[in-house]
Symmetry: none
Subunit: 365 residues, 2 copies
């Protein structure tokens, strides 16, 4: 175990250690790991239960490890584990933490207060998030990762070319579109229940680990859970150290990791990038002023007209709805493609079909 950096302490490489991550990190030599990925408890503070419109119950996070007395207790915990993480991190290593609005501001503040140097915040845009069932907020469709160097002067690693190649030869942006961990990838027990409430998708860890480490380097995960970080690290030819308090999670992680076949180095560079589909809501044209609120729309024969409202709905007499709904309504047709039906009168009397305004936005990501 070569990486002991002259401390006399050996690194427990490619192992899952069961116990409290703070105590376990204290036993690791300083400046010994190249990268850290940490998915700490989010402190969600859920109250009652939540039902879908069909009355089925949402299986939320209700584990003891996610409960803290208050924000101060959460902050104290955060400072403590981040302090050990910083000690264990090599001088030029980097750390990733992930969270939601419940905890990410506490994490970011703690990182900065401890001297870490934020390099990016990265948005995991979920392809298939849970909707907001009550219609009281925006769909919570992302989580935030913070990527930080040990300090402002760190000469950290960033595999720029690998990230660019992952992204069809344009620079990798700070917003990543990746599906949830579902289907066959999701670990389940015999009854079909999920083994861990918050298992992260391997695609996310693939990108994280590939971005900031080289093969053979050491990735530490202080909150290993069911082992996504370690499994991906192993597949990508990295070494790992996984810390996990719950023996059941740790056991599941070990079994999972054992089943992983390390990739050859060339194969490690390939990723199954899910391409994002393009759909442009009419409302976006309104916001952007391309078809401003107040615009009068007419059909090709100028038989009907409608006024565009600020929310992208249109109104024709008492009827209000989407361009498609109102188009169908006035024609008494079962359906209507509003993009082709409605036109904007141009100076000079020419009509321009809505679809032409949409193509102006087609090029955008």
């Amino acid at each position: 175990m070569g990486d002991g950096v002259g401390t006399g302490l050996d690194l427990p490489l490619d192992k899952v250690l069961v116990g409290d991550c703070i105590a376990l990190m204290r036993q690791l030599p300083p400046a010994s790991v190249h990268a850290i990925f940490a998915d700490p408890p989010y402190n969600l503070q859920l109250k009652g239960d939540l039902r879908r419109p069909d009355d089925s119950l949402v299986d939320g996070v209700d584990e003891a490890w996610d409960r803290f007395d208050d924000l101060a207790a959460y902050d104290a915990f955060t400072h403590e584990w981040l302090t050990e993480a910083r000690r264990v991190l090599r001088k030029d290593g980097t750390i990733w933490v992930i969270g939601s609005y419940h905890n990410i501001f506490r994490l970011g503040t703690a990182l900065q207060d401890l001297g870490f140097w934020v390099l990016n915040d990265v948005i995991w845009r979920k392809a298939n998030p849970m909707p907001n069932f009550r219609g009281r907020r925006f769909t919570n469709a992302h989580e935030t990762l913070i990527w930080a160097a040990r300090g402002a002067e760190s000469r950290y690693r960033f595999n720029y070319a690998a990230m660019k190649s992952l992204n069809e030869e344009v620079q990798m942006r700070s917003d990543w579109f990746i599906p949830l961990c579902t289907g066959a990838e999701r670990l389940r027990d015999e009854t079909g229940a999920k083994l861990h409430p918050t298992q992260k998708p391997e695609a996310l860890l693939h990108r994280v680990i590939l971005s900031c480490t080289q093969p053979g380097e050491v990735v530490l995960d202080p909150f290993l859970g069911t082992g996504t970080t370690a499994a991906v690290a192993r597949r990508l030819g990295r070494r790992y150290i996984g810390l996990e308090r719950d023996p059941a999670y740790a056991a599941a992680a070990e079994a999972r990791i054992d089943s992983v076949e390390p990739l050859s180095e060339s194969a490690a560079l390939v990723t199954a990038g899910k391409r994002e589909q393009k759909r442009i809501p009419f409302g976006h044209l309104v916001e952007r002023g391309l078809v401003p609120a107040g615009t009068v729309l007419v059909d090709r024969g100028r038989r009907w007209q409608a006024v565009v409202a600020a929310d992208g709905s249109i109104r024709c007499g008492r009827a209000q709805g989407s361009i498609h709904q109102v188009g169908a309504l006035v024609q008494e047709a079962p359906s209507c493609n509003g993009w082709a039906f409605w036109h904007v009168e141009q100076p000079g009397g020419r009509l321009r079909v809505l679809d032409e305004f949409r193509v102006a936005l087609q090029g955008e990501g």
Copy 2:
């Protein structure tokens, strides 16, 4: 100026006030604005002299300020203006703040510490971000907004239906794809130089203001800059209060706001959700003969049927009660929306859902 809430202080509506936003907010009556949008400056120089966001030099010129002091000064400033903002915000009002990874964690932590209740963090995904020229990080392609209520118990406003309409009848997510402010929208001086370094796009403010206010309500921007918030508020038929310390920015903002034409009432009128519509008791439909007593109701699958009584209750076997109670009972569900559950058989065998009968009374006073 009606909204003074009995304080004797008047609200300076539709004005740009020049001065320090903290001092100016102290002169506003408490609980007086419906929404706040804040784009606080992040001018702290991390190398060399330490300056406050208002450009004043922090005392102790000869002192070696380290990173901690930088952050502490920023935190103190943040707490101070957010404290005043919270005082000025109505009980059920909401606040938006925007920032990047340099300051958003400080903002979020301060919001939580002051008792604000985070509703969403929202990602502004930039369509055309500046590339990372050095190739040392991910392209910083987004900024983060935090949307928060004044407190955990606030009954805040969220125009769910309008947001859904803006997004082609799919729930609005927490990641928004909007271009930078460029082209004709970008304010420039005679030489073509940008008037303000971080002018926000109007499309962003359009969505923000539309999501959480009604026409006629008051939007406060403590860091108005060149007036995007006020201009969009005016266009959407909202009132505004803009605070700006730089007289040049304030002057540019005023000129810009003056040139804005408010939308017509019909264009500003946004899709109303069912929650906004008047509540109509089922009994009224019975009284009015729209669904006469004796009518047989069935569910969509014709599994259950019930008979309408003269008092608007319905009976299904031995069960009698409201359309909701009986619907829940027969399904053995915890609750039921009777308007959507029960149907009336039409001549020809078609089923018509109760909700459709309600529409006839919707327009009446």
